[in-house]
Subunit: 336 residues, 2 copies
């Protein structure tokens, strides 16, 4: 079980409040997503719909919608750009699940498990390309620059993660580089775009990017904690996936740093040599408990959330600002 | 062996002549490719270099360089955009080889065979993103529109190909739709971009796109013929790959259309039911010979080449125009 702070009841519904505040925009974004993932090649919308319909929270597009509103943006461009952000995210998920050989995503069979790896790779490519097409339609080179850079950084983060897999010498710095790339970069871009289309000065756009980046870091830290701590039914994916894949995530990095020689031998065998047997996940969970690394991971996430909240300090108080900060706080209280 | 027309000796060196005409630009493009496929994540340039160094002819970037020159373009933008075109192509190759489980590419082990599927998928994503970044640096929304649309069309063509695999009811029209997407769309975009940056009127740009599209169709038809007709050593990949994968390419479509009941039973078993044994490739090659479908495929390619050449008729005669048309003619005479 996750250790959550006392504000859980306050913050747990923050995402619902954000969704309610942006109801009309989110509806329009969903319509754009469905309309623009269409193709004469029937398998493309079929496969895309599997993922799009499988109950994602639309957190990243919500950030674009929210930051645009926070900046008083009066137009409609944020709708299409929020759809872009979701397409980039969906493309990444499709390729991730192929790379990780995942069988579950959001509590349902993953697209690769249902349709196979091949269409997952190719439909991911289509969604990437379609995202760029939507950006080109929007026609703002600064927005294009931000989102294309994010797409390149995501791929770099994913490749870096692959090279750290099973590598016990992975440093904390390297871990943070991985999650900045694979997760936080898109959160940052999604937020920055809201400021850019509102025509805000560079300092405000940088503050929004900072908010997104820190939120993304916290989000991934919590994700990595949940992989060892969640209730499997609530998580919607398999507990222990990261362990089985030999991923050097923060809870494990901390446990390795504090390991006794015997414990170190255990991690070397299971993570570095990838020699795992039935009771090993239980042992890993016990060691993580011994060294209290889930709570320590959440504490690290809380630091990022504090930094994220501070980044919004220069924006005038508003319902949107309060809700965005609550959403950030909810990140470290979430259980799934 | 391929049936080649009498002009082989004239046209066989056309690509070398084009390369010679564009030597300085091609060198600059290669430098841009190497510089911009770099990343702090070492595996990215390592894997990309494997493919980039493996002796590709750079046909697609050459088309961008050549059409820019044909249109009298005096600047340097064509260099970076030619690199974009090659990055999109390379990304597609990486994902293709994963999807097709190919072991050979250009006579050497494919990237997925050397590095594994996971990095091939992710480095492909990086190269896609990097291509879009280069386009954004160039900053021309019309160029972005053309190349992003091509990227989406390529993915659609690849997915469509997947859905026609092992499907004996695949029509000629469907086959042409597949190769237009997976191959010809990028040839068309590569050529159109040359005219766009030279500021040519829409009719000229459309003519260049037509040239590229027809050339790409011919190129893929010949590729599909070579899969059944080439000398394996010259081909640089495995003869019979398409047969083993149950791909409904033109030589097979024609053989199926003309099949006797017994022959039809053979194709149903081997292609539709994917039940193949040792002597089946030899039987397939014999049936393809009986129905003369390699020559008929090349004839179809020649029709596309005639159309491609006609598309350049409105451009004034020049060494570049002559060479481009010769390169097109070389397409149907190539053996690898």
């Amino acid at each position: 079980m996750l250790i959550v702070d006392g504000s859980t009841t306050v913050t747990a519904d923050a995402l619902s409040r954000l969704t309610a505040l942006l109801e009309r925009d989110l509806l329009a974004t969903n319509e754009t997503i469905v309309a623009r993932m269409d193709s004469p090649v029937a398998l493309i919308p079929q496969l895309a719909a599997h993922l799009v319909a499988s109950g994602g929270k639309r957190l990243r597009p919500l950030l674009t919608l929210a930051t645009a509103k926070l900046c008083g943006y009066p137009g409609e461009r944020h709708i299409k750009l929020a759809a872009c952000v979701e397409f980039i995210h969906t493309a990444t998920l499709l390729h991730d699940d192929v790379v990780d050989e995942s069988q579950l995503r959001r509590g349902a069979a993953s697209a690769n498990a249902v349709f196979g790896n091949k269409p997952s790779v190719l439909v991911g490519d289509f969604l990437f390309a379609r995202a760029f097409q939507l950006m080109v339609e929007d026609g703002d080179l600064e927005v294009l620059r931000i989102l294309c850079a994010a797409a390149a950084t995501i791929a770099e983060g994913e490749v870096l993660q692959l090279t750290t897999q099973n590598d016990m010498t992975t440093s904390e710095a390297r871990y943070f580089e991985v999650i900045r790339g694979k997760t936080a970069a898109l959160f940052a871009a999604a937020c920055e775009v809201g400021g850019v289309i509102a025509g805000r000065p560079a300092a405000d756009c940088a503050a929004l990017a900072r908010f997104g980046m820190d939120l993304g870091m916290a989000f991934q830290l919590v994700d990595d904690a949940l992989d060892y701590a969640a209730d499997q039914g609530e998580l919607g994916k398999t507990v222990g996936d990261d362990f089985r894949e030999g991923k050097l995530t923060y809870p494990v990095l901390l446990a390795i740093a504090d390991a006794t020689p015997d414990e170190r031998a255990f991690w070397t065998r299971t993570i570095e040599q990838n020699d795992q047997h039935e009771p090993d996940l239980a042992t890993a969970l016990a060691l993580i408990k011994t060294h209290n690394t889930i709570a320590r991971t959440i504490t690290r996430a809380d630091e990022f959330i504090a930094s994220a909240s501070a980044a919004l300090a220069s924006f005038p108080e508003s319902d949107m600002r309060t809700t965005l900060i609550d959403v950030a706080r909810f990140t470290t209280a979430r259980r799934f």
